[in-house]
């Protein structure tokens, strides 16, 4: 098995979870999301975020509205849809179960 690919898939899944988590606290502009994720050291570069946001939006989990910016092009403000909220809840419980299971099984003697 390709370990790099596995890592990437895992990171991607976790990132999507975290993005939904950030947005569950309220509407946000990508730079805000990035700031949060960077603080948590989940991503290092901004580029990673844009394709993820677009895919989550296309999957119907996110929606956005335009807002004019004084600093340049208009900005997209993202928020969770109802599906997104439901999806996040499912992810949360799955994650908790998983984290618990992982903790149990990988615990040192």
């Amino acid at each position: 098995m390709d370990i790099e690919n596995a890592k990437a898939q895992m990171r991607k899944g976790v990132l999507e979870f975290c993005i939904l988590g950030v947005l569950s606290r309220g509407e946000a502009y990508p730079s805000d999301i990035i700031a949060d994720l960077k603080k948590a050291k989940l991503i290092v570069v901004e580029g990673t975020l844009y394709p993820l946001l677009t895919r989550l939006k296309n999957d119907g989990l996110l929606t956005y509205r335009w807002e004019e910016s004084t600093q340049g092009p208009p900005r997209k403000y993202y928020q969770l849809t109802r599906d997104g909220k439901k999806f996040l809840e499912e992810l949360r419980s799955t994650w908790d179960e998983l984290a618990h299971a992982v903790k149990q099984t990988t615990k040192a003697e």
């Binding site: 990437a8 677009t54 997209k76």
Partner: protein, 532 residues
Amino acid sequence: MINLGGTVFHVEEDAFQIIKNYLDRIKDNFTGDPGEKEIMDDIEARIAELFLLRQSETKNVIVRSDVDDVIAIMGQPEDYNLGDTKQEAPASESTMRNRNRRVYRDKDDEMIGGVCAGLSHYFGWDPIILRAITVVLILVGIGTPILVYIILWAVIPVAETTAEKLQMMGEPVTVENIRKKVNEEAKVASENIRKTANKSSRNFSRKGREVASAVGNVISRGIGLIFLFIGLSILISGIGSWIAADINFFGAGKADFNTIDKYFFNNSGDFGWLLAGGILVIVSICIALIYSGIKLLFGVNKKIPGLGWSLTVLIIIGVTMLIWTGVSTLREYSNDADLKTTYTFNSDTIYLSVNDDVFFHNSIEYHDREFFDMIKDDGNMVVFGEPVSLQFYETDRSDFKMEVLLQAHGQTNSKAIAAAEKIVYNYTLQGDTILLDPYFKLPENIPYRDHHVEIQIFIPEGKSIQLGKNINRINHHEDFDGKVKTMGEDGWHDEHHSGVIFRHDGIEITRSEHSDSVHVKVGEIEITNSRN
């Protein structure tokens, strides 16, 4: 200049290349992705925002360091596509590659429409080979293979997505790749159904744009080919004649470099300057043609720094040399002078002959004479091949007249006269017999200033001239040698006749010695009476 997210930025050239390359590589990551356009728009908008933060009142140009900063923030192209590793497919052996290979046109490597490049990828050749074959086929087939090209161009699709590009080059066939491809296509399929309607109209306009770009390519490459051809042929023929000139400047028996420099120019060395100026201008223009030809033909954008202005400077220097020596030389020829000697003859017939040519060749005819025919005589005189000419005129006088004109040019009128006086032209007159030389001589230290000798013979009506040998050496009539010519009312009379009498009242009587017959013409009635 680059337009990002609706904002136009002034970007330095090297920074522009980096940012363009960066965006292209990111785009490659998402080709085929249903969200491609949206993702790219978001990314470009963010980069625009970051650029705007780096601009200020005093600094409104994006430089290399700004681009580096932004890329550091945004991440490398591979950071954009976590987990979707389709572009990282490892290169595999060619047997594996061939199995999944398909023909596409390669727009990234196109000359006209990418047909040759695409086919070459399919067969695993270098595109230049197929292009060369195509050009040869078009030349041999008088253009008909162009039709084949157009058909191929219409039939073969363009490789647009990364997947198609991989397929065109030969994608490795792995389980991972196939699974990915199926997923991808399933995803794209649903999108496609929704978009079929407007996509087909978009395809149509895209085909139109493609045709326009192909036509543009053909035109610019055609112009490039013409430029290259003209530049190369002038250069090659120039070098060829230069090599020939090294042996003898204007061919065997003609004047060499030093002779021309000495006899035709004002200052010693002017001829060298004139040649150097000419060569400089021609070579510079050839290089410019070849350079722009190659650029157009192969669509190369790269500039050779300084080439443009250095060629311009060389051309200006060359033209200056040409004008300088040209003006200085032409001034020498600005005035002309004729020295005229006149003779008259009272007889009914005069005899005219031209001496044998002991320097050149008797068989040289008037039209074959060349300007640079110059030979050094034993007595240090230069003999000119061309400039002696004989002219016949009709006259109202009652007797023959001959004028010998010695002509030359000079910077002033007196210099022109002095130059003309230096002509040594030999001719002899014995009663009614005239004997002319086919050439004249000039003392060796006298420069050539368009020296000419012109002999004008004026013939009264009804009088005859017996022409001897070599006449066509100095006269443009080809068939005068050994003939008798009589001046009639309407110019030269018919050949082969002698003893011709002309009358003003319209009566002519001619007697031919050859056919032994008499020809009488009164008004419109003609009678020819043969004695046998």
